[in-house]
Symmetry: C2
Subunit: 186 residues, 2 copies
DNA sequence: GCGCTATATGTAAATACTGACATATACTAC
DNA sequence: GTAGTATATGTCAGTATTTACATATAGCGC
C-alpha cells in the first residue's frame, strides 16, 4: 500500500468520514504535511475497500446528495499500526523557494528582497494561525493533547511540527531578504 | 519551463557541467531541497537545448567515456533571472514521518519511541554535516558567502535553510519521543 | 580473468499526482 | 430566474517522478 492509503487510514482511525470529508481534511490538519485532491482520494478509497482495509455504508440525506461514509476495518487498523513504526524512506524535501534563493545572486536585488519579505510574511501568518490552533487545542482538550496514547495527540503533534517549520521558514526568508538589502545600495 | 529546468539552469549559471556532474549535484547542494535522477536530467537537458537555454560540446577523454559539457546561453540566463523573482506556487511539504506521528497513538510506544529517537539522530548528524560545510565555506570563501550578489551566496543560502530545517526536525523528533516515553511506563 | 566501482549517457515502463471534465442536489443572494 | 457556492462522487488526460533496463570504458583488488 502507498503512503496516501495510510494517510487516509490515519484519518479514518479517528472517525468515519466520507470521501468529501477526507478531501476537505487533506487541505488542513494532516494536509499540512501531506495533501491530495479528490481525484486521488476517491480511487484510493476504492482500492482500500478492495483490500479490505475499509468498508462503507451509504447515508441518505435530505436537502443534500447522498454520501458514502467510510469506516476503518480491523485489518485496516492493524496494517496502520504496523506501518507507523516502520522507518520511512529518506525524505528529500522539495522547495522551489530554496531553488530561487540558489540563483538569487543573478536577480534584481530589490525585486528579490520584496519576494522574500512577502514569503516571510506568509509564513508568519501561517505560524500565527497554527499558534491559535495550538492554544485552542490545549484549552479545549487539556493534558490529553500531550498524551501519546490519546487520539488528540495526532493533530497536536502535526501542529507542533508545523509551528517549528513555519518559525524556521520565516527566519530564513528574512535572513535572505536582509542579505539582499544589505548589498542593495552599496 | 518546469522547475527541474530552472534547477539545472541554476547550477549551470555557476559552472559548465555534464549530465553526469548534474546528477551528482542533484544528490547534494541544491539537492537538499530538490532532487532528480539521471533519467530525468538527460531528457530535460535535451529539452533545454531544444529551447535554446543551453548548448553543449563533446569533450573527449582518455581513460574515460566521452562526455557532453553543457553551458548556459544568454537566453537561459535571462529566463533564469526572470524566474527567480516570480512568486512560487504555494508549497505543501510532504513528510511521511509527520503522517506516522499522526497515527502514533495506535502503535507500540516503545517501538515508536525508538523510531523517533533514530530519526532525531539522523537529523542531528545531517545538521553536524551542514555545520561543517558552513564553517568551511565561511573560512574558505570569506565575506563573499554573505554577499547576495556573489555566486557563493547560492550554496550558502541553501545551506542555511538546511541548518534551520534540520535543527527544527531534530527538536520535533525528540519532543515526540519524549511524549512517548513519558506515558510508556505509567 | 572476474567482479566491483566509478564514469558516462541514454530509454522505457510503471507509478504518483494535478488539472480538467462530468454530473447532481439545494441553499443563498441578487 | 439565475448565478454562485457548498455538498457530493466520480473519470480521464497529461505531467512529473521513480525504477528498471541497456550499454560502454577503464581502473582496482583478488
Amino acid at each position: 500500500m502507498k503512503t496516501l492509503g495510510y494517510a487516509i487510514l490515519g484519518l479514518l482511525a479517528q472517525e468515519s468520514l466520507s470521501g468529501y470529508d477526507l478531501t476537505q481534511l487533506m487541505k488542513g490538519r494532516v494536509g499540512n504535511f501531506w495533501s491530495a485532491r479528490h481525484s486521488q482520494i476517491y480511487p484510493e478509497l476504492a482500492r482500500l475497500e478492495d483490500g479490505g482495509y475499509v468498508t462503507h455504508r451509504v447515508v441518505e440525506q435530505r436537502e443534500r446528495p447522498d454520501k458514502k461514509v467510510y469506516e476503518i476495518t480491523a485489518e485496516g487498523l492493524s496494517a496502520l499500526r504496523e506501518w507507523v513504526t516502520q522507518p520511512p524512506p529518506p525524505n528529500v524535501p522539495r522547495d522551489e523557494l530554496v531553488l530561487k534563493a540558489y540563483s538569487v545572486w543573478l536577480a534584481d536585488p530589490e525585486k528579490a528582497a520584496r519576494l522574500f519579505r512577502e514569503e516571510a510574511l506568509r509564513h508568519k501568518e501561517q505560524l500565527a494561525h497554527y499558534e491559535e490552533m495550538r492554544t485552542w487545542m490545549e484549552r479545549e482538550r487539556g493534558e490529553d493533547v500531550r498524551r501519546a496514547d490519546s487520539p488528540w495527540f495526532a493533530g497536536y503533534a502535526a501542529l507542533r511540527r508545523g509551528i517549528i517549520y513555519e518559525r524556521g521558514y520565516e527566519e530564513w526568508c528574512n535572513w535572505v531578504a536582509d542579505q539582499l538589502e544589505k548589498y542593495m545600495h552599496p
